[in-house]
C-alpha cells in the first residue's frame, strides 16, 4: 500500500476581519497533501456570516476538505446553518458520523464531530447528582458511542478520527490543569481505541502541545493554529515503510 499525506489544522477562527488571508496560505496544498482535515472552531462567534467566510476560504481547493465544528461555531445557535453553508461549498462536514474519501486507489475513512469535555480518567465528572452534571457527562458519552459505531462501520484503508475536543491530556500540556475537563474527555479516546484508528486529530487547546497518544497507542495531534504556528501540518501515514 502506498503512503498517504494528510494536511490538518484547527481553530482557524475566521471572520470578516481576516477574510482572504488564510486562503492565500493554502496555495499549493495539493503538492503537499491529498486531503485537508479541519478540526473545528472555524469561526469566532459562530454566525452564519462567519460561516460564509469559512466556506469562501475553503471552497474549490484542488483536494477534498473534511471538517467538524467547534464550540465557537455553536455560540450563535447557527451550527446547523453553518454546516449547510459549508456543505453547499463542497466541504464534507462530520457531525458524529463518518465519511470515506476515495484518494487515487486508497480509501481514507474519517469519523468524528465536535466532541465534548468531561475530563480524563480518574479526574473527571461522572453521571451522578444534579441533572445539569448528568446532562453534561451524558452528552460526551453519547457522542463517544456514536463515534465508536461510526468507526466500526468504516470500510477503509486508513482511519482517522477528527474532533475539536481532545481525547487525552498529553496534548493539553501548557493549558491550566484546572480547565482540562472543559478541553476534552477520555471517553473520546476510549471510543477510538475500541475500534482502532491510525491517527486522532483535534484542536481547541490553543495553549496546548501538538503530540500525544491514546492509552491504546493511537497517535494524537493537536493542530490548533496557535499550537502548530503553520497554515497546516502534514502527516504522512505509512504505506510500505518508505513514507
Amino acid at each position: 500500500m502506498r503512503d498517504l499525506r494528510i494536511a490538518a489544522v484547527a481553530d482557524i477562527h475566521l471572520g470578516e476581519d481576516v477574510r482572504g488571508h488564510y486562503r492565500k496560505k493554502l496555495e499549493g496544498i495539493e503538492q503537499r497533501a491529498e486531503v485537508l482535515l479541519v478540526g473545528g472552531d472555524l469561526t469566532r462567534h459562530g454566525t452564519v456570516q462567519e460561516g460564509r467566510v469559512v466556506a469562501e476560504e475553503l471552497r474549490d481547493l484542488p483536494i477534498p476538505v473534511v471538517a467538524v465544528l467547534g464550540n465557537h461555531d455553536y455560540h450563535s445557535d447557527a451550527n446547523k446553518e453553518i454546516i449547510e453553508v459549508l456543505r453547499d461549498a463542497g466541504i464534507t462536514v462530520l457531525d458524529d458520523d463518518s465519511t470515506v474519501v476515495p484518494l487515487d486507489g486508497l480509501r481514507l475513512g474519517v469519523a468524528g464531530g465536535k466532541g465534548f469535555g468531561g475530563g480524563f480518567a480518574g479526574k473527571c465528572a461522572s453521571e451522578f447528582g444534579e441533572p445539569e452534571t448528568k446532562a453534561f457527562v451524558r452528552h460526551t458519552r453519547e457522542i463517544a458511542e456514536r463515534w465508536r459505531l461510526a468507526l466500526k462501520g468504516l470500510e477503509a484503508d486508513h482511519k482517522v478520527v477528527l474532533s475539536h475536543y481532545s481525547p487525552v491530556k498529553d496534548t493539553l500540556t501548557g493549558e491550566p490543569p484546572e480547565i482540562y475537563p472543559f478541553l476534552g474527555s477520555y471517553l473520546l479516546a476510549e471510543a477510538a481505541d475500541a475500534e482502532g484508528a491510525d491517527l486522532f486529530v483535534h484542536g481547541h487547546a490553543h495553549a496546548g502541545t501538538e503530540k500525544g497518544m491514546t492509552p491504546g497507542g493511537i497517535r494524537v495531534r493537536n493542530v490548533a493554529l496557535p499550537v502548530i504556528e503553520h497554515a497546516y501540518v502534514v502527516y504522512c501515514l505509512n504505506g510500505d515503510g518508505d513514507c
Binding site: R5, A7, I12, H13, D17, V18, H21, Y22, K25, I29, R32, R44, H45, H72, H75, D198, L199, H206, A207, R219, L225, P226, E229, H230, A231, Y232, V233, V234, Y235, C236, L237, N238, C243
Partner: protein, 85 residues
C-alpha cells in the same frame, strides 16, 4: 458602577469572563493578570483588530487599571516539514 478597587481579587476573573462572553470579543484563551493598578493581557489572536478589541473590552471592564496589551498575533507560517507516522 464598577468598583474594581474594592474587589481586586475578582477583577482578573471578571475581565476574563467578559472577554469570553462579550460578542465583540468571544475570546476564551486570553490570560488576565492583575498586579496592583496594572492589568496584563496575554495570549494569541489572529488579527490586530482583535487585539485592540480585547484591550478595549478589558479597559471598559476594569476602569482605573492600566492595561498592558501583551497579546501576540498568531503566526501562520508556510507549512513546513511533514511528520511520518
Amino acid at each position: 458602577m464598577e468598583t474594581p478597587h474594592y474587589a481586586p481579587h475578582y477583577v482578573a476573573a471578571r475581565v476574563q469572563r467578559v472577554l469570553a462572553e462579550d460578542d465583540r470579543t468571544n475570546e476564551l484563551g486570553i490570560r488576565v493578570d492583575v498586579r496592583g493598578e496594572e492589568l496584563f493581557l496575554r495570549g494569541q489572536v489572529s488579527s490586530d483588530e482583535r487585539r485592540h478589541q480585547i484591550e478595549d473590552v478589558a479597559r471598559e471592564t476594569a476602569p482605573g487599571l492600566r492595561v498592558h496589551n501583551e497579546i501576540k498575533l498568531v503566526e501562520v507560517r508556510e507549512p513546513g516539514e511533514e511528520e511520518h507516522l
